[in-house]
């Protein structure tokens, strides 16, 4: 249904000099141009994707298509056939007509607009999907769809309605080549190799062989480096699987929350190295040639060692969303941005760069457009 125009709150933010309050220092921050804050009354904008003048938002309240020229918005939720209104991924099909939504508990949703109306089809376990929790979808050059779920990865080749076209990859059937069945991120490099970010490290599938790396290989900073930052961070991670993985990385009775193996975010960089945001272990750069990790933490200038979102702008600058705000990394220096001002919350879940140069940031309570001049 169309929900009308977004309430555009052009917050008259006074850009007083900001300071790194969280780190307890008085290091001046980069001052942006005035951002626009869109009050869309949604929680947890976990996905942001830009497509021309359209902006796709995956939230905990449904999927929004925002026309950034008119501010008209279309909301997809239960009324449009979704079973889950929590959207974790959105991917454009190579056909250019179809969007694929990964949902939390509601399977994989195929979305096509027909005469201005959304048409949805849900794919779930009975079709061949590993489970109903879909965290990422990517297409390779052959047109095959690769899906990350909480029960391993799927590949779909050809007609999605034929169960025989679905292939499952699990810890068990890959002989532990896949690090963990909880797959949060899928990346495909120019060699068409598939990278999987899981809760127990990263895995690489070249079409025949599997390789994997974890904290023992250097993924994520050690607890001695991040102990102060992760101390007393309240976790949203509950359930046997999360707790087992965290317990494996923490001392018994420890009052901190830390799993450097947990790939919360993952992005292939311009040089095809892998950038990995971890849960408490900071930002990890994996050099795919030397197969070595370099870790960046609050000691290097990150706002937090819990890294939720990553994205590269057109200049190759890496933008980093954390639980304590936004940072950028030009390869030499990490700068912190807008820890409180402009962003609607300190939690930065998502980001995207629009064709007009605008930089959109999604957080716990809405989205912010940061003009091009602000981040260049």
């Amino acid at each position: 249904m169309w929900v009308g125009r977004f309430s555009l709150l052009l917050l008259l933010i006074c850009w007083l000099p900001s300071f790194n309050l969280l780190a307890g220092t008085t290091k001046p921050q980069v001052q942006p141009a005035q951002p626009e804050v869109f009050d869309i009354d949604v929680d947890h904008v976990k996905v942001l994707e830009s497509a021309g003048s359209k902006l796709y938002l995956g939230t905990s309240d449904g999927f929004y298509i925002l026309d950034t020229l008119t501010n008209d918005a279309l909301l997809l939720d239960y009324d449009n056939g979704l079973i889950s209104k929590s959207i974790h991924s959105v991917t454009q099909d190579p056909d250019g007509e179809t969007l694929w939504l990964g949902t939390y508990g509601g399977g994989l949703v195929e979305l096509v607009m027909q005469d201005g109306q959304p048409k949805t089809e849900i794919y779930n376990v009975r079709h061949g999907l590993n489970d109903s929790f879909v965290y990422d979808v990517e297409f390779d050059k052959a047109g095959d769809m690769w899906i990350g779920t909480w029960s391993g990865a799927n590949k779909v080749s050809g007609d999605i309605n034929k169960r025989a076209n679905w292939t499952k990859y699990t810890v068990e059937n890959t002989n532990k080549g896949l690090s963990d069945d909880w797959v949060y991120a899928v990346e495909i490099d120019s060699k068409q190799r598939k990278w999987f970010g899981t809760e127990v490290g990263i895995s690489l599938f070249d079409g025949e062989q599997w390789k994997k790396w974890d904290h023992n290989d250097g993924l994520g900073a050690g607890i001695d480096i991040v102990r102060k930052d992760v101390h007393d961070v309240k976790t949203a991670l509950r359930g046997d699987h999360h707790e087992t993985q965290i317990a494996a990385q923490t001392a018994k009775g420890a009052n901190y929350n830390y799993n450097p193996n947990y790939v919360v975010s993952m992005e292939l960089g311009p040089k095809e190295n892998l950038w990995i945001g971890t849960w408490g272990g900071g930002l990890s750069l994996f050099d795919v040639e030397t197969e070595t990790f370099t870790n960046y933490t609050t000691r290097d200038g990150l706002p937090s060692n819990f890294v939720l979102a990553l994205g590269f702008d057109k200049n190759g600058v890496l933008w980093i969303g954390t639980i304590k705000g936004l940072a950028s990394f030009d390869g030499k220096t990490i700068k912190q941005h807008y820890q409180y001002e402009g962003l609607l919350s300190r939690f930065v879940y998502s980001m995207t760069f629009a064709e007009d140069g605008s930089f959109w940031v999604g957080g716990r309570k809405g989205i912010t457009r940061i003009p091009v001049t602000a981040h260049e």
Binding site: S60, I83, S84, S86, G105, G106, R126, D131, S132, F133
Partner: protein, 130 residues
């Protein structure tokens, strides 16, 4: 024969029915299956308290609700697991679980979560034969 009966019969032929072990073995297997397939929605304790309950159209059932035990027969649970519940987040597990696995998880849910008295595991043979 109507379509539903035909479907049920065809399902029975699709799944090999393996003789079940004792109650303890069934409970052990059922617990593993529950935590692999069910707890993410129905909660580790079976009370429906999970993150997903707030974002799906129909909240997952609370198996600890005493009223549920009266309403949900073994057969109703069996077909819900095998065929799913259309229009809800309950998936159809018929391609992923054998009839024996389904029976084991029902055994676990009914005894350990619903607190029902069971002296033997739920039979993997569907009631259509009975």
């Amino acid at each position: 024969m109507n379509k539903i009966a035909s479907l049920l019969l065809s399902l029975l032929f699709l799944f090999p029915v393996i003789a079940s072990g004792g109650l303890q073995e069934s409970l052990k297997n059922g617990k593993e299956i529950y935590h692999a397939y069910c707890s993410v929605c129905h909660g580790d304790k079976g009370d429906g308290q999970s993150f997903v309950r707030n974002v799906i159209k129909t909240p997952p059932l609370d198996f600890t609700d005493k009223k549920l035990a009266d309403q949900f027969s073994v057969e109703r649970m069996r077909w819900a697991i095998l065929l799913g519940k259309p229009g809800t987040a309950m998936p159809a597990w018929r391609f992923d679980l054998t009839l024996l696995q389904v029976s084991d998880v029902i055994t676990y849910i009914r005894k350990e979560i619903m607190g029902l008295e069971l002296t033997e595991p739920v039979s993997p043979e569907a009631a259509i034969y009975k």
